[in-house]
């Protein structure tokens, strides 16, 4: 007997591939690509297609767990007991310390409806704006910068723009590993003649398909973008008509540019002046061109400023708002765009409308029937600081392993240990659940309905192919149950009802309903009649007055730098076979392909340090130390090393300090000064020869 095929949206990266899931006897037999998926066009990668076995892994949480004493073992409990415990503890803490002593995290792997429910619960029943999501630690700088420069927090176009572009600059992203289906699409575009410029400290795979690769020092992106802007202006590539008709603030940028000659930028970034000029000419000369970026741009002390400079480059050449000319940030997780769109942020309701905006706040008060706080809540790093300071007493962490993925792990663990009460809602036990008092067994994307929003702002349906295992429930159900028990009924029977409320309260989502999304989804903003927006800003920008804004921001040095004690710069990233903290992919056949994090190091550095390929080595930063095997490769430049954080036994993020983006507190994962040496060698350095 064949069971029906379920068309759904992939729960791995932000590409948003449409998948056909083929269930058989309560498990997934196979997954194939939907031929009509607008983002994947009948393609997938090994994560979406093959890495689904985690959903029926024996380590899935199948019953609520309660820990009676800190550090003690967790015992299985019924839902009633678990929920009663949550209600009693949160009630006690709220009464003793006020609503702002409690904070929640929504999950960027969960649906829009889950995240909307979570932020409504935190705001309406706890009474706090202490709600955030993991976009804080990845693309919050992109969101901040795009809103400031252009108006809306999303890509200005679609992946289809790569197919129409004559050239593309790809900076700080490695799509063939992190976003493989987009990586394949960019490859095909280069094979058809698109001129690709890659900018990354590592020689990523796509560099071999491009016409030019620039390898700046980590933290020098601002100088590179300013240098490109300098050459574009100097050599006559400015679209004067566009600049005067549709933008403001160009003169301030012009005043800044003379100091960023290719030679000056070479001194800062290490990128040869001639290469920088060539990159600018390739971009400027193309009739249509895209710029795409990832966490290599954002996860820096000045990440949000670099995104604004990227906007400057597109604006000064008028390459925005038409097919083939787009700004395309590659969002990390499947719904990191949506979780932020849904207002799971400490300062905004849905569609990035401020909690301090009286009119917006009143519309939510009217709909929810409760008074709401006008005060911004804590961001994720602020939550941990407040927990250590004793001001934050309880957290409700939904689908995020902060103890593995957030920077400065020792501080995060200290914060979790300092809490009076921690609830985790997840599908597996994680590094974070070790500190939880109550663990609620939740659902994977293969077990739920709702919507994800991909990196093109495309809202797509998610449909269940399996039931949650054992006593596990969907996240939507769990949040409904907990919210009701806390005293605030969420008045929806299905996620589709929640979407109707989102649409009613959010002008940019007004035309969205599950029925209307169909097989291909819709790209917000969606008008009440259902017209969506594959391309933004065709006629005007979404800022007051309709003009885009140029940022005139100078290059500033990153938060960390190599010195005598820590002579190498560590950059972290991802591998094709694994996804983020690896909770899902480590429980699939993907571990047969890659089973450990390794440190990539250049052959010259390796030789100098007496390190051979495969040696176990020690990596020490100013805040922590880890051990892992070395991989000697010339993909990485001299002076830099690279690793991933897919395996909890490595705990890479112990190395990352507290330095963060100045505007959004997105951590500086991409510049960490480290000392690397073979294990067993004394930490004291050999004295320099006279």
């Amino acid at each position: 007997m064949t069971e029906p095929t379920i068309t759904t949206t992939c729960g791995y990266c932000g590409v948003g591939c449409r998948l056909e899931a083929h269930p058989r006897d309560g498990a997934i037999a196979s997954i194939s690509p939907a031929l009509d998926g607008p983002a994947n066009l009948g393609h997938t990668c090994l994560k979406g297609r093959f890495a689904h076995r985690f959903a029926r892994h024996r380590e899935r949480l199948t019953a609520p767990l309660i820990r009676d004493g800190r550090g003690g073992p967790a015992r299985a409990a019924g839902w009633d007991e678990a929920v009663e415990r949550i209600v009693a503890e949160l009630g006690r803490i709220r009464a003793a310390h006020g609503p702002d002593a409690i904070a929640g995290l929504a999950s960027s792997r969960a649906t829009n409806e889950d995240c909307y429910a979570m932020q409504r619960m935190m705001r309406a029943v706890i009474g706090t704006n202490n709600i955030d999501n993991c976009s804080r630690v990845c693309h919050s700088p992109t969101s901040f910068a795009l809103r400031k420069a252009l108006g809306l927090s999303g890509a200005t176009g679609s992946f289809a723009d790569f197919d129409h572009a004559g050239a593309t600059i790809l900076i700080g992203a490695n799509p063939t590993e992190g976003h493989p289906v987009v990586g394949a699409r960019i490859k095909q575009a280069t094979l058809r003649g698109m001129r690709l410029v890659t900018i990354d400290p590592r020689r990523i795979e796509l560099a071999d398909y491009g016409v030019l690769h620039l390898a700046p020092r980590p933290g020098a992106n601002a100088a590179v973008m300013l240098g490109i802007a300098h050459v574009l202006e100097r050599d006559g590539f400015v679209d004067r008509e566009f600049v005067s008709a549709r933008t403001e603030g160009f003169d301030a940028l012009l005043e800044l540019l003379p100091s960023y000659t290719p030679e000056a930028v070479e001194a800062i970034s290490g990128v040869p002046a001639a290469d920088l000029e060539r990159a600018a000419h390739i971009y400027g000369a193309a009739e249509n061109a895209c710029i795409s970026w990832g966490l290599g741009v954002t996860e820096h002390k000045y990440g949000s400023e670099v995104v604004q400079l990227i906007c400057d480059v597109a604006l000064m050449t008028g390459k925005i708002g038409r097919p083939g000319s787009a700004l395309l940030p590659l969002r990390g997780q499947n719904n990191v765009q949506g979780s932020s769109d849904m207002g799971a942020l400490p300062d905004t309701y849905t569609a990035y409308r401020s909690v301090a905006d009286e009119q917006v706040a009143r519309s939510f008060e009217a709909a929810w029937g409760v008074p709401l706080s006008r005060t911004k809540g804590y961001t994720i790093p602020q939550m941990f600081d407040a927990a250590v300071a004793g001001e934050l007493k309880a957290m409700y962490i939904f689908g995020e392993d902060v103890a593995q993925t957030d920077p400065n792990t020792a501080h995060v663990v200290h914060a979790l240990e300092s809490l009076d009460f921690l609830v985790c809602q997840d599908i597996f036990e994680t590094e974070t659940t070790k500190y939880a008092d109550v663990i609620l067994p939740a659902s994977s994307f293969l077990e739920k309905s709702g919507t994800f929003t991909n990196a093109e702002r495309r809202v797509q349906l998610v449909a269940p192919a399996l039931d949650p295992p054992g006593e596990a429930r969907t996240d939507f159900e769990i949040i409904k149950v907990v919210s009701a028990a806390l005293g605030h009924e969420l008045p929806w029977s299905t996620p589709a009802d929640a979407m109707d409320e989102i649409a009613a309260l959010t002008p940019d989502w007004a035309g969205i309903s599950h029925a209307r999304l169909g097989r291909h989804g819709l790209q917000w903003p969606v008008a009440p009649d259902g017209t969506d927006a594959p391309i933004l800003y065709e006629r005007e920008f979404a800022r007051e007055g309709g003009r885009a804004h140029f940022a005139a921001l100078p290059y500033k040095a990153p938060g960390d730098a190599a010195d005598e004690e820590f002579p190498l710069i560590l950059v972290t990233g991802r591998r094709l076979q694994h996804y983020n903290a690896g909770t899902m992919t480590r429980r699939t056949g993907n571990v047969e392909l890659v089973d450990a994090d390794v440190l990539e190091i250049h052959p010259d550095d390796a030789a100098r340090l007496w390190i051979s390929d495969g040696d176990r080595i020690s990596v020490r930063s100013r805040v922590g130390r880890i051990e892992l095997p070395a991989h000697v490769t010339d993909r990485i430049e001299r002076g830099h090393v690279f690793t991933t954080f897919h395996f909890p036994e490595t705990r890479t993020n112990l190395l990352v300090g507290a330095s963060a983006d100045v505007n959004t507190s997105c951590p500086e994962y991409k510049v960490v000064a480290v000392d690397v040496r073979p294990i067993g060698e004394q930490p004291a350095r050999v004295p320099a020869l006279a």
Binding site: S30, L35, G42, C45, L593
Partner: protein, 209 residues
């Protein structure tokens, strides 16, 4: 985009300029058998299963590579074309050591064309254990019909160029890298080859019989 008007089995359909006879037939809701065709890839025109009659043409033409002209009349059930398609599929099947699984494209095309057990009991590919050196992707080389879809999927959809057509004539087959298996090759396990394969010569390890 300008449109052309063609007729398929007497029904008039409008198709965009550049459309093929296969596009027109599908737009008209008519079935044309195909083996080497995948809409995600550039038309290949190798298998000759998709032959159709075209008014004014001396012989049947491959629908997947024949571009529509204004006023073209296409006959998807042209007797000569169908005879050839039947023979093509029967010859392909005659090389296999066992019938392909019923859910494969080859089995379904054969069934719809009414091709039964091949009448030519000559040599068949030697059955072998599946190559399962990769955690997800398996070869069953004896089921390969050399349609080239896997190689083109790897090139045109994924861009990894890990697969190669090998051998000649009866010995034509497919290999990953230098015939070292998927795992040791440049393969990134996107699965596009398994997805397009019409016989399960490349399939998922977990779906092996």
């Amino acid at each position: 985009m300008s449109e052309l008007t063609v007729t398929v089995d007497g029904t008039t359909v409008a198709v965009p300029a550049g459309a093929t006879a296969l596009d027109a037939a599908r737009a008209a809701g008519r079935w044309v058998p195909t083996l080497c065709f995948d809409a995600r890839q550039a038309p290949f025109g190798a298998c000759r299963a998709c032959l159709v009659g075209v008014e004014g043409a001396a012989n049947p033409l491959p629908a997947c590579t024949t571009r529509c002209r204004e006023g073209m009349a296409i006959d998807t059930e042209d007797p000569a074309a169908r005879r050839v398609a039947h023979a093509v599929v029967e010859l392909v099947l005659s090389e296999l050591p066992r019938a392909p699984a019923p859910d494969t494209e080859l089995a379904q095309v054969a069934q719809r064309l009414g091709v039964g057990a091949p009448r030519w009991p000559g040599e068949t590919h030697a059955p072998a254990d599946p190559d399962v050196r990769h955690p997800y992707l398996a070869f069953q080389h004896e089921l390969c019909i050399s349609c080239g879809r896997c190689v083109r999927a790897c090139d045109e959809l994924q861009g990894t160029f890990a697969l190669t057509a090998t051998g000649r004539g009866f010995h034509a087959n497919v290999a990953a890298g230098l015939d070292e298996g998927f795992r040791a090759s440049a393969c990134v396990a996107c699965g596009a080859c398994a997805d397009t394969c019409p016989t399960d010569a490349i399939t998922e390890v977990s779906l092996l019989p």
